[in-house]
């Protein structure tokens, strides 16, 4: 079964104050599909004045929205979830067109997970309570959570609707208004969502401004009229956003990527069973979403006594990956999201080979034929080498895994932690001691144990080291979008006696 490129309008607008508004300067940019490099539509090339208009709307709406009941806010989030779910296929096909990822991923992962994050945060706010402590017989300390006000959010292009659904619901449900800038490579599903939910929230509560980082992202991130900025992206822009936040003394959360180790101990091969089959799939998950995942398991660490036998199976499984028309439900790996990513990955394949890495699978671009000959496809690639090579240290953001072997637990940990980043890691073992002790010793915010690439709501996700800070997908995210108001109440009728 196969889908086709969806129909688009010629031109789209920003969503500000509950209405679609063209950019004030009248400038637009062409958004293209990486599937075949064809034009999708024109989106606003917004400037500071457009961002200011959105901030006007958000600031005007924040007081009333901040005073709505949790009941009301949660019910609106549930309404959004229902609307996405009712239109799941439409969102999925559009996401595939805009991002290049295969349709089986958008239908089974991106969009259903997005739905669930809206529902999860609706449930969180209804089930939590503030706190009150009797400090002594006459003194009560009461903690009330209050919204920060206006939140600026800048999201990436690798999971466009899902990243929006990680960031928007916790900010909205805590009573904040949001101005969100989607990535310029993938503006389509954010716009489709606004079309579907235009009347759900009061005007000004949700605002979407399209445009380029230096022209629209910077005025949003640096505005003194924003109370917090949440960003997912790379480290230089992360530093810049923190600099701007320091001027405004604003909090930020940062998710800046990783170079995640996926470690396979020798016990995985103790039997040729369903578990081993799962482990082999776990190693091949580097190709999931074309490797465009912040937690891509891009460093494969295999214990030396099973290395040859295990890698034989991993190479076989990798070579069996179907990379073809992303709209076809049988396709497993699609197109990279843009030409510059495609060029960057090719430059890494080149330096990897120069540094002496041995190609065990793939190793080049994949030139598809017919309608897809102009798309950006890279063969799922396995490079064998050592951890000091640049391909082992830098986030390639392509379907490329670098494999090396280790002797024992100590060496596995040394290699695993020899990275600037600490976002994700995988540990595969049948040994009950290892499956607790190894994850505890890895410096990363998420360690998958005998699994990988699961991102359920209700499990906190975020980085150690240069991968950033803050934890998404979890009830603790609510407090990243709130102030604590402490009311210290005295029930004592008697004075202190000082004056």
């Amino acid at each position: 079964m196969s889908y086709t490129k969806p129909k688009f309008k010629e031109k789209y607008a920003n969503f500000i104050n509950g209405a679609f508004v063209p950019p004030k300067g009248g400038q637009y940019f062409d958004n293209t599909s990486p599937v075949d490099n064809s034009l999708i539509a024109q989106y606003p090339r917004s400037q500071k004045e457009d961002v200011e208009m959105a901030l006007d709307a958000a600031n005007a709406a924040k007081e009333a929205w901040g005073n709505t009941s949790a009941t009301e806010r949660a019910s609106l989030l549930n309404k959004v979830a229902d609307i996405i779910e009712e239109n799941l296929e439409e969102f999925a096909v559009m996401e595939t067109c805009d991002n290049g990822k295969p349709i089986r991923e958008t239908i089974n992962a991106d969009i259903p997970l997005a739905v669930d994050h809206w529902r999860y945060f609706a449930a969180c706010i209804r089930s939590e309570e503030g706190s009150a402590t009797e400090l002594d017989a006459n003194t009560l300390s009461m903690n009330i959570k209050e919204p920060l006000g206006v939140i600026g959010q800048i999201i990436p292009w690798n999971f466009p609707l899902l990243m929006l659904s990680w960031k928007l619901p916790p900010a909205l449900v805590t009573g904040n208004c949001v101005v969100l800038k989607p990535a310029e490579q993938t503006p389509s599903t954010a716009t489709l969502l606004m079309e579907k939910i235009a009347d759900v929230f009061p005007p000004g509560v949700v605002n979407i401004v399209h445009g380029f980082g230096p022209e629209a992202g910077k005025p949003l991130a640096s505005s003194p009229r924003v109370d917090k900025v949440a960003f997912t992206g790379e480290t230089t822009t992360g530093q810049l956003i923190m600099q701007y936040a320091s001027k405004n003394l604003n909090p930020v959360t940062m998710e800046l990527g990783g170079k995640s180790p996926n470690i396979f101990f020798n016990s995985v091969m103790d039997a040729d069973d369903a578990y081993l089959d799962k482990a082999i799939e776990g190693a091949v998950l580097f190709a999931f979403n074309q490797g465009e995942v912040c937690t891509c398991p891009s460093r494969l660490l295999v214990q030396e006594d099973i290395y040859d036998a295990f890698m034989k199976r991993v190479v076989e499984r990798t070579n069996a990956i179907v990379q073809d028309n992303p709209y076809d439900v049988g396709t497993m790996v699609g197109a990279q999201a843009s030409n510059d990513q495609y060029e960057k990955i090719k430059s890494y394949l080149k330096i990897g080979k120069e540094e002496g890495a041995k190609v065990l699978a793939g190793g080049d671009a994949n030139q598809l034929s017919g309608d897809f000959s102009d798309g950006f496809y890279i063969q799922p690639t396995i490079l064998e080498g050592h951890n000091k090579m640049r391909v082992f240290q830098e986030e390639i953001f392509g379907p490329v895994v670098c494999v090396t072997k280790f002797k024992d637990e100590a060496e596995a940990l040394e290699i695993a932690n020899d990275t600037l980043y600490g976002l994700g890691a995988g540990v595969w073992t049948r040994d009950a001691h290892q499956l607790y002790q190894i994850p505890r010793a890895i410096k990363a915010g998420r360690v998958w144990v005998n699994c990988y690439h699961a991102y359920p709501a209700h499990a906190p996700f975020g980085g150690y080291k240069k991968s950033g800070f803050g934890r998404e997908n979890h009830v603790m995210m609510l407090n990243y979008y709130r102030q604590t108001k402490n009311m210290l109440i005295s029930y004592d009728k008697n004075k202190l006696g000082f004056f």
Partner: protein
């Protein structure tokens, strides 16, 4: 002997950006999405300190990289080029529909002796 160079095409883009924005610098990014790519920023916009290594001067712009990232890059020679594309960072060339990109090669023995 230079550790980092720039192509003619990339130099032209730098000149164009200088005219619009004034003094600029290059900083190599790391991490997610558009990471591991050179960013061009206004000189006064980006805070540089001793944690950044100055790798060289290209097209009149200082080229910096964070010290801990440099430890993994120092054995390679870098050439800054430009390609069609659309990064989502704050790098100034993005509105032109272009993206700076790094081509790398290993330093040869002679270069290693001089530079490392």
């Amino acid at each position: 002997m230079e550790r980092v160079e720039i192509t003619e095409a990339a130099t032209k883009v730098v000149r164009q950006l200088q005219q619009k924005h004034g003094p600029l610098l290059f900083h190599l990014s790391g991490g997610c999405c558009d990471g591991s790519s050179p960013m061009v920023l206004e000189e006064e916009d980006f805070y540089i300190d001793e944690s950044d290594v100055l790798l060289g001067v290209v097209a009149g712009l200082n080229f910096y990289m964070n010290q801990d990232q440099y430890e993994y890059w120092k054995h390679t020679h870098l050439t800054i080029d430009v390609t069609k594309g659309r990064g989502s960072s704050f790098s100034l060339e993005i509105p032109l529909g272009l993206r700076f990109i790094i081509h790398s090669r290993l330093l040869d023995e002679k270069e290693s002796k001089m530079l490392l």
